[in-house]
Symmetry: C2
Subunit: 411 residues, 2 copies
């Protein structure tokens, strides 16, 4: 990872490149005046007025937006990726997908039943679970349907609308294998059923190898309690697997010898293929990236220096490379990856760019440590067909007009 | 870093060690009944009811608490370290210290004047600053007075009260050296004055070497806009330096050839020494740690397995080792450091422990990559004297009574 600040300290490099051109340089004679010209300010709000759980400034309008997921209580909201920086998503801006709304669960009442092909079945309270060894890990969560509206043609106007069903948090909980080892797995155990305590009773089959690898029974998110929208007080985390398999409001785990073919496995989370077969149990959210700045809905302020920046992530491993093209895929340049770069985690990339003021298309392409490379739409169609919905991982184009206006356009 | 889950998968290891002992194991005959005994649930709240900026569950009561900093508008609040996990602090729980309350600043109106010993002085708008190259970095921020009440004798009951003036975020902004290089530093430039736009006009002298090293003009925190309490829309970040030098609501930077000896440098942020001299410009928040669980105010539920966990941090570098003693300093065991371990950043440590039910004292001791080791109170007194206030880095004792009750006691 090259140091951003290894850019040569040529004086006024960025100002000459159009950055901060609006602000006049001050002569030394006006300087002393300017110093005192900025008016002072009286006392501000007291701490007690700020409250003991802080909220954003009234001037900061960054919000989730409603996703158009479906009728009734199936719904969700999208993370404003185009307004965020770094790699952590604040809990209040984490995307949501719900299949029957958000239950409000009292953790003192919540229980987890673990049974099936184990030597001892058991019901755990939250207090029980919190006594076991803990891990905290940064992982992204992405809905299988992130970008579903983009398959056939570009529709979302902003990165929030095209890619806002991914977020990244530091999750804390008990490694699931600790619990399963405690209860004793029987020899024929191969699958795990995870059931949520929402009205939709979200139920998914998880392969046991994943449960025994890096799955977590998570109860904290970015240090504090899970949000209700994220499964408070307990969710399953299967890092890198499609969002809904990370079952929220987790109430039951059953160990079995084959998958259950549940409602959600047989309906929206099964993927049609070009050969008319169905791909079930897709599991992985594969290698993907998106430029978040500059991106759709923004307008460049004339030719000059801009930082291109975005997010890359992969459910199959760790991001090793992000390439950026500023000439519609004609040539590619490697972006800087910003530390920390962690497995199954959002990774921030950055690349300096000077826009010459001509119409162009910019895009990013990610690679992970399994060698997986983010495909173009044409490449993705060959594998998944042109009318898919879930597991869109294709390269995102942002078209920059001569006016500086940026749109979602892959023509 | 050892893998937590490398603990041998001996069946019922933790349950036999007193974890989850309250929950009865289920016989296989009652299991099927139990599965259906957990009642189902109707539809939950709709997304639109949850709001587009999410808030904690009504059952999650984790909050900051008012710190007793001083009279009038000098005040602050403390991060609930004992209730948090991992290494990130949610913005709504970041500690605060204010010297004249919290101003509400419209970012469209906010300006930063940079002048003094530079070739070109300049006034930047927020829009100007956001065009420059960016970095995002995880860093802790700690008030110089964190634990000031603990110098003479233990007073705080919880880790929030003893250590709650430290928090950790991913900060995003312009590297300060990029801006200073743009304007051109004169040959005699050695110091920088940073001035805040609060009523107290917080003003501090920063050595230029630090400004040109890793200082950031930060406008985002954990991805989103800074909170008003954290300096919205712009603060200085001087990683590892005492909190108030990270000037909030930053409005002016002046380059000079010597320190300014400002109000705050000559009053509360100067440190008396045992030889009656004053230590000014302490800068670094040095190597420190605290066990957050189990910690003061908690009660152990009888003998058995517990995970000891806490935070370590150092303004002079990266944490390389945390040792834990469970016998009042008689012997020490190395704890596991949880990834990512980053410079000038909170680091989570964990250690398995079996309590035998006898009265004891537990404590942690951190080491960083400069070789600095956290001192005992006796060792700290020798350097800083017994009546200090700022820069308390001493080892924290938690006394566990036979009843399991935990208190702040170094007798």
């Amino acid at each position: 990872m090259a140091d951003k600040t290894s850019l040569k300290p040529t004086r006024r490099r960025f100002i000459q490149a159009g950055v901060a051109s609006s602000a006049a340089l001050l002569s030394s004679t006006t300087m002393a005046q300017e110093t005192t010209l900025i008016p002072g300010r009286g006392p501000g709000r007291r701490v007690i007025d700020t409250g003991y759980y802080g909220v954003p400034s009234e001037f900061a309008k960054t919000q989730r937006m409603k996703g158009n997921r479906g009728p009734g209580l199936v719904g969700g909201s999208l993370t404003p990726l185009h307004e965020l920086e770094g790699m952590v998503t604040p809990a209040g801006l984490h995307f949501e997908v719900h299949h029957s709304g958000v239950p409000d669960i009292d953790p003192a009442e919540h229980k987890l039943l673990v049974h099936g092909l184990v030597d001892d079945a058991k019901i755990f309270t939250m207090e029980d679970l919190m006594r076991f060894p803990k891990v905290s890990r940064f992982h992204f969560l992405e809905c299988a349907g992130n970008g579903m509206g983009e398959w056939m043609s570009p529709r979302g106007q902003t990165a929030q609308q095209t890619h806002g069903l991914t977020s990244c948090s530091q999750w804390t909980g008990v490694p699931l294998k600790v619990i399963l080892n405690e209860l004793g797995l029987r020899g024929d155990a191969k699958w795990l059923l995870a059931e949520g305590d929402d009205g939709a009773r979200m139920t998914r089959s998880i392969p046991l190898w994943k449960a025994m690898d890096d799955a977590i029974l998570a109860y904290k998110q970015n240090g504090e309690w899970l949000r209700a929208e994220q499964g408070f007080p307990l969710r399953l985390l299967v890092p890198g697997f499609e969002g809904n398999m990370n079952v929220k409001w987790l109430r039951r785990l059953e160990v079995g010898d084959k998958p259950w073919w549940t409602h959600h496995e047989n309906t929206e989370y099964a993927d049609p293929r070009p050969d008319d077969m169905i791909r079930a149990f897709s599991f992985y959210m594969e290698c993907r990236s998106v430029i978040t700045s500059p991106s759709g809905g923004m307008t460049l302020d004339g030719p000059g220096y801009y930082e291109i920046s975005g997010l890359a992530w992969s459910g199959t491993g760790t991001i090793t490379k992000v390439e950026v093209s500023t000439d519609n895929g004609g040539s590619w340049q490697e972006a800087q990856l910003e530390a920390p770069v962690l497995p199954r985690c959002h990774t921030r990339f950055r690349m300096p760019w000077t826009w010459d003021g001509k119409e162009t298309i910019i895009m990013s392409r990610s690679t992970d440590d399994t060698g997986a490379v983010q495909p173009t739409y044409e490449e993705m169609y060959k594998i998944q067909g042109p009318i898919g919905m879930m597991h869109n991982t294709a390269i995102q184009n942002w078209k920059i007009a001569q006016t500086g206006e940026i749109t979602n356009d892959r023509s």
